[in-house]
Symmetry: C2
Subunit: 331 residues, 2 copies
């Protein structure tokens, strides 16, 4: 398998991505190749400095344009056909890659994958499924921002696709699916939720357990949570921001009142972060596209990149798209 | 001023509400009267036990039906015209009360206020505005659940109404208004947000500072945050649930690894909660109705009830509805 890695994406720059790719070499199969797409000079330097890797599992593919994190995705892609993100999608389209990973501009990744690879015939809109360890009960949430104007059918497709993904990734048969709403009672929610509930109920292969409130998202009540992209994006950023705020508050207070305990508390904070952090599983697949494209958080560490590469491999191994076709083609 | 208090609402039962009302007597004006609506026997017992109050500021109005927290609001109101919530709205309608406070079934409060008091002519849909101390920068979020199928005009009205409320409550002139979206750039967001942005921009009296991401909600970047009720409700419950989860995690770890620091840490947790807790300001006004109805969290403490009574008084004092009429009537 050939997995493309965007070396120009992510807040940590090429060094972090390359370090992650080198680390991943120890986990992928012998015949696998990681294709590092980006500036050849920077990749070389990073390989010397962080990776010191000279095996056969890494190839370099030079790209001479970069899409910045803040650039408007569609315009940026049009202006920069030689960017690493555009190249990844194109290379996968023509079969030079089997899957891609990028920690770059999320909107550009979605647009490049959507336009470059197209979507599966049985799917109307792709969705990003992100996974959190959720204090010990992993949960995948879809969609967290690919599609902010949703119809019930989109949510239904997300439910099927994320179930397939979760099943393959964690080996959990018929994962429990919850539909995010403002109350657990079936009558509650907006028109979108009410319409989706009907579609969810109709599909007996879906293990739909009903509506779920946001307070329970990280409490292990379901394996898969479905919501529209606007709401999912709000949830993701709120957890991130609020988590940081709370930790900051605690650290300030501990520094003031229990300075001798700072190191111990630091360890607890680190452990806490790793038990709910959405970056822990490394990457979020854009489900529904005719290919495999994993999107990583901009702040990904090398470990995050490595995990994303392994996750991309797992998607290929489980043939996620064939499973999705099988499940949605019958509907 | 006569402020009605629902003694039958809230998880803490009549004791907590009565204790809050008695406490409020020390803060309201001499001529004010708090009308405790609920079971006369229970109120009497609670007054003996918690309040030991026998002054002229408290009146009791007997009601013999109760709407449970889990009951479907509209049906419950129809079946129970003698419930405390229904009576509060009716009493305000005929002028026996100037404002009401309830920690009971939120949906029933919204429905009772909406149907019983009606909405202001210049408003299309009422919205619940809840305030958090937000680590030292109070912020009001509207709507958090009154209206889950929103149009741009609704969001615009929420922006004006919540600005008026915030201005009166905190004495902040032209509070900064942010519209919740999935990115700060104006092109981002769903159709609802894009439509609302145009309306916000048109009104020069509104201090609209642009789109805000959920990660910044509690970071003091604006005073008023506008979103539709579905999203607002998700935010509220997510902050509540995640806050509890994080604290639980920390407490478990501290108990395991730093047991001697448990008391000190407990104090820090308590302080942390009070710096972002949405219940701290005691009640959330249902803005847009032709009256004053403050909705409290079910888990309100006596302090929360007291704060809500004072907030209701402040709404009357500031003549919030007249200000709203003035601002929205011209549009």
């Amino acid at each position: 398998m050939r997995i493309g890695v965007d070396v120009m994406g992510g807040d940590g720059g090429p060094d972090v991505v390359v370090a992650g790719a080198v680390e991943a070499c120890r986990h992928v199969h012998d015949a696998d190749v990681l294709v590092l797409v980006g500036d050849r000079g920077l990749i070389g330097k990073a390989l010397d400095k962080y990776g010191k890797y000279s095996g056969e599992k890494i190839e370099i593919c030079h790209s001479d344009q970069v899409i910045g994190m803040g650039e408007p995705p569609v315009e940026a892609l049009k202006k920069k056909p030689g960017s690493s993100i555009a190249m990844l999608a194109r290379m996968q389209k023509i079969g030079e890659l089997d899957a891609c990973v990028s920690a770059g501009n999320t909107g550009a990744c979605v647009a490049a994958a959507h336009m470059g690879l197209g979507i599966l015939k049985c799917v109307h809109r792709p969705g990003i499924a992100i996974t959190s360890p959720a204090f010990g009960h992993p949960v995948s949430i879809c969609d967290v921002g690919a599609n902010v104007n949703c119809r019930p059918r989109n949510l239904y497709e997300y439910a099927v696709m994320t179930s397939v993904y979760f099943e393959g990734f964690f080996g959990v048969e018929a994962p429990r699916v919850g539909l995010l709403s403002v109350g657990e009672e079936e009558g509650k929610g907006n028109e979108l939720v009410k319409g989706a509930t009907k579609l969810f109920r109709k599909d007996s292969t879906l293990n739909f357990i009903g509506n779920i409130e946001s307070r329970d998202i990280l409490r292990g009540t379901c394996d898969v949570i479905i919501c529209e992209g606007f709401v999912g994006n709000v949830i993701l950023k709120l957890l991130e921001g609020f988590g940081e705020d709370v930790v900051k508050f605690f650290m300030t207070k501990i520094r003031e009142t229990l300075p001798t305990q700072l190191d111990s508390f630091n360890r607890i904070v680190k452990e806490m972060k790793s038990t709910y952090d959405f970056n822990d599983y490394g990457g979020a697949p854009l489900l529904g596209i005719n290919g495999i494209f994993l999107i990583c958080h901009g702040a990904s560490t090398s470990r995050g990149i490595m995990n994303a590469i392994c996750a991309a491999r797992k998607c290929l191994e489980n043939d996620v798209n064939e499973q999705i076709r099988r499940r949605l083609g019958d509907n």
